[in-house]
Subunit: 694 residues, 2 copies
């Protein structure tokens, strides 16, 4: 507990607007109310820096029966509304987490957290730290030595400090400096990542001042150079008005839904949303840390998932030299996918009939901050769904696949992630990540080549890095008693039964204890989440959903490194744990300057039973991003998809009842000669005729 005097008596005030469902995200008034209840604890009226005021989801022991009753139309149990609050007493290192019972208007717990537990950044703090770095006299003196043209604008990008064990118990930011194109300082959207500088101030979060200036190495070795006049390369802008020319031969492609969208969104109170589409139904939540979260995902009235969300991500960099050796961002835990969500302005980010969901998050002062259009919902055509032609009659039966996309986009300083849950008519759900934005850059001397990065512009090194994600799947496949099993394909031994050596079999194994597990393509090892108590009516197999996740290189950093210790999910394709309330984030609840030991690896090490039990499955996926010049100044999307697909869950192809694809429905057009400027080439072989240039 804090040394502050606190009072935990309930606030005697009526609840004015009961929230209609326990899974509705926290409302604006609940945020303010929670902040007020926290403030009331401290008669000394300190200043607060709130890091998160968000829904404390009900214990599963309460919520699962509630949802069951709801689906059965039975009497609903009462569940108190609770808020999770994390906050600092401002200008201290005193991080607290509290649970506030909003129904009873009281603070149920309020704890000051121990060492190596640091809150994430917040917008207000990041803007302040930028300013502190740039206004520091020492930093200014170093910048002055660079001999930059007058009016040059230097930009400071504060980075979460990371962990190296060197005097890093306190909370700090490592700022990386860049400049806008010095030849065009008025261009506020100049790509400053094309002009990295070697000066890197460290800002202390309690003292709010620069406590050290690091200098980045720019050659092949460890050493950095004293600040000195630098060459100014050409700019490398990504904004359209700065391109020499834009393509003029791309014609419009419009997605028109003349009868509107096929999905239904039901608003539940101020903040809740239920989406129904093509036999699917689920609730959408949104919070500071994970951004969008899906709850109670059902297909055709059958339970599939209790909760789905991206739980964590880690981006470790390859350059071993200080200060770069600490670069290993946890974008969710260090900042927040909710906090960083884009406003998806109509027409720029999606095609077709789009619905936007807005949310509310908390500010550092404990107020509510509206987050508009942070999730978009739309349908998209996904090509042919299934097709068969009877070659004897020529009759083709065909459907197109329609997908429902629930998407959010986040900007993490230089980088963007486009994240979407996609549902289809074959009862499959896919989680897609598109990595785009601007790769993180650092200065490099002319002529220097290093094996941990690629020169993408004169003076600019893009360091190789990994993106490792953890998707948290809290399954409820036909109920909460689930197991993780894996199929493997093995050749049959050559024998009288298999004399030609062509036979092979599929074996199924059940994971017994919570653990980290890997894929193996040599045996086609495939993980399934299975309900052994629910059997397929035709073939009597246990119903299951299988996991399709692309392979990736696990964390490259040494197992003894802080990178490895901290990213607790980064060493296995799959983790399975026994469900415990409050275990939501694979890298642990507090990732900022974390030390490890508080995430999924630790939970798995409890070696608990995961057979026919309430389990959680953590699916890791990622990219080893060996940078290439084509990724600069902004990278074309790199796409990763993870899918969950039914296996013997239905009694036939669940998309069999999708109406056939036909011209009356599709309204496609045939491209005519007029559009295509068809022509005939000059005849070849006549040596006097000019050849046509294609």
């Amino acid at each position: 507990m804090s040394a502050e005097q606190v009072s935990m008596a309930p606030l005697a005030e009526a609840v004015k607007q009961p929230v209609p469902h326990p899974l509705c995200p926290i409302t604006a008034s609940e945020i303010r109310n929670a902040a007020r209840l926290i403030r009331r604890l401290y008669p000394s009226k300190p200043e607060f820096q709130f890091k998160a005021i968000t829904l404390e989801e009900p214990l599963k022991a309460q919520l699962a029966p509630y949802l069951q009753a709801e689906h059965q139309g039975a009497r609903l149990p009462n569940i108190d509304r609770r808020a999770f609050v994390s906050y600092y007493l401002r200008n201290t290192d005193k991080l607290h987490e509290a649970i506030v019972n909003l129904s009873q208007q009281k603070v149920e717990s309020n704890v000051r957290l121990g060492p190596h537990m640091h809150g994430p950044g917040d917008w207000e703090e990041i803007v302040l730290v930028e300013k502190i770095a740039l206004e520091d006299e020492g930093v200014k003196a170093e910048i002055a030595k660079l001999g930059l043209p007058e009016d040059t604008v230097v930009i400071s990008d504060p980075w979460i400090y990371g962990s190296d064990g060197n005097n890093d118990d306190r909370r700090m930011y490592q700022c990386f400096l860049y400049m806008r194109d010095p030849r065009n300082p008025g261009n506020l959207d100049s790509n400053h990542y094309a002009f990295p500088l070697a000066i890197s101030p460290v800002v202390d979060c309690v003292e709010l001042k620069v406590i050290r200036i690091d200098f980045c190495p720019t050659g092949e070795g460890l050493e950095s150079k004293p600040s000195q006049p630098i060459p100014i390369p050409e700019a490398n802008e990504y904004t359209p008005e700065h391109q020499k020319s834009l393509r003029t031969d791309l014609k419009p492609l419009n997605v028109i839904q003349p009868e509107g969208a096929s999905f239904k969104v039901t608003q539940v109170g101020e903040t809740g949303q239920v989406i129904e589409w093509q036999k699917w139904s689920f609730r959408v939540g949104f919070n500071q840390r994970e951004g969008m979260v899906l709850y109670d995902v059902q297909y055709d009235g059958r339970s599939l998932f209790y909760r789905l969300s991206l739980s964590d991500m880690n981006i470790p960099y390859a350059d071993p030299r200080p200060p770069f050796h600490k670069k290993a961002a946890f974008d969710l835990g260090d900042a927040g996918a909710g906090t960083m969500a884009n406003n998806l302005k109509l027409g720029c980010d999606c095609l077709g009939a789009i619905h936007y969901l807005s949310a509310v998050l908390s500010t550092d002062s404990g107020d509510a901050m509206p987050m508009e259009n942070v999730v978009c919902v739309h349908e998209q055509d996904a090509g042919i769904g299934w097709k068969h032609t009877n070659y004897r009659t020529g009759r083709a039966a065909i459907t197109r696949s329609r997908e429902l996309v629930v998407q959010s986009i986040i900007t993490v300083a230089n980088y963007e992630y486009i994240m979407a849950f996609m549902f289809n008519q074959a009862a499959e759900v896919t989680y897609e990540v598109r990595a785009t934005g601007i790769i993180s850059t650092q200065p490099v001397d002319e002529g220097v080549e290093v094996p941990w990065g690629t020169v993408v512009h004169p003076g600019v090194l893009a360091t190789h890095h990994q993106h490792i994600f953890s998707l948290r799947v809290d399954p409820a496949i036909d109920g909460h008693s689930n197991s993780l099993v894996y199929d493997e394909v093995h050749p049959m031994p050559i024998s009288d039964f298999n004399p030609y050596g062509t036979g092979y079999t599929v074996s199924e194994s059940t994971v017994q204890k919570s653990s980290g597990l890997d894929t193996d393509y040599s045996t086609n090892r495939t993980y399934k989440i299975q309900n052994n108590y629910s059997r397929n009516p035709v073939n009597n197999k246990a119903v299951a959903y299988k996991i399709h996740a692309p392979p990736f290189q696990k964390m490259v950093a040494h197992p003894s490194s802080f990178h490895h210790k901290r990213a607790e999910f980064a060493d296995h394709n799959i983790y399975v744990t026994k469900y415990h309330d409050d275990e939501l984030y694979a890298g642990g609840k507090y990732t900022n300057q974390s030390r490890g030991g508080a995430g999924v690896r630790a939970w798995a090490n409890r070696k608990e039973n995961v057979v026919d039990d309430d389990i959680v499955v953590w699916i890791q996926f990622g990219l080893q991003h060996v940078t290439r010049i084509e990724d600069f100044p902004v990278m074309p999307c790199e796409i990763i998809k993870v899918s969950l697909k039914p296996v013997n869950f239905f009694d036939k192809n669940p998309a069999l009842d999708v109406p056939p694809s036909n011209q009356e429905f599709n309204r496609s057009t045939e491209v005519t000669e007029r559009h295509m400027q068809s022509s005939v080439e000059a005849q070849v072989g006549d040596c006097c005729a000019p050849s046509s240039k294609l």
Copy 2:
């Protein structure tokens, strides 16, 4: 040479319509002309069964300089037109292959092929074999024992016989029998794969009669049962009119291109097509074996690929019991992706502004057969191309990614493959395969479970199987001197330079000799096709295209098995060979009842130089299809993608000049309340209020 008397004197007749480009597919008149020239060889006037009359592509030594001259606008060398002809003297096992010089009207070579070289099936033959099997008195007698309802229609699916070394030197078909729904025998499109029978006649292709009747095992063991009355399960139809109900809540989604398509198709003579789109240009060919082929693929005037095509596929099955142990289809070599191509009727298979390409193939009688709408060309939206938001100004820069799709769909009896080359604006090309259609079924007794298949309907076993594909990439990355290199990511040892254990490096290795190679996710091993003589102007790295191909389980069958010997590509992710003319098909030129030793494994074993040389890269990919009930009666598409992406080939993101995505261009709409029937749920917590049912 054949024992027939042959005459190889030129036919003294003028060439009436010179074909305007050496890469134009063979024309109808050329087909007839080639057949005539072949017939003229035989004064005895035997009957011919033509298997293929197709373009014999020019030697690269001739064509490469031609294309270079063409692109430079220089004088074009003359190249004779040649046809490749394979044929049987009908009702014999005398398979010949001939090269016919169409320009000089003479047969340049005509060779009778040796043992274990068999031609593919053709439509006329398949229909004939079906009939022979069903009209055989012995087969009829066996069918009579099944006690089927009167009017039951039995269907025979002829399968390529396969190889097991047991008295299988001659060319045969193994027929699998099914029946249409006996309760509804008038339904010509009944899914007969839901009613597999255990009687399997073998038809000899020379004698054209049933030479043996095999009986399929239907239990767990090797033994089969004598034919006896069988139960008739329910039907399991895939056609929409046989579904209990179709979904009624899917609203239209139209792709409208108000200004037409952005691509240009130039017709070249009767059969040639040049496609230009968004800086890409290439020629499209079409032949009996591979279906669509792309030639001379360029981006922004720079050479990338000399030739791209799917070269082969193999589908081995898991059941070791005769007659199933021989099931291992080579759909291209045994039948032909051209031969089996669907007519892509407008509006059923694609959305938007579509252009269809037609082709011409040869018939068994040496005539020309028009193949209409076998390739479709259209654009599609592929989601966000790249995005960055400047968090300081809030300015988002965003493009959508447009793709050009060149697609063909084939039906191989029960099964469908949807195959497409997709080009994007970031200079990436992707080859996509969607596997759909009806899985191959066999009869199974009630209550039997076997580890090599899944019961997908009462009495119906869907055997597990693999799909292994080989994409042939004949590269010309900035020219013909290319190398295959691979990057690997390795941790740095812990040292004074890397004290925190976080550093890692990328190393590049060059493949020296032709060989089979594998991916390795533990080192992120990534293959690149590289031109060491063309350097990036910014970072001096060799220009390259990297290969992204998903991992797959290699051929499971034993290395000593015919399955393994025959599918010469199925044991490695990548093969690289030195270019030789006439080496186009990874499994060898003649796959029907082949013995192996004539494909890419054999070519690689020559251990030729592949450094800075004219090389060919064979990319394998595939599916281990562990069948599930959801794959029946028709399976939802399973999608695999292989991509080729530039690495240090350009000097920045090549899609940087794509115009920004905006509402004026996209014309998206916001879904309004009216469409969505927004409502508010009943308040919860009031125990007397009914809960809303979602």
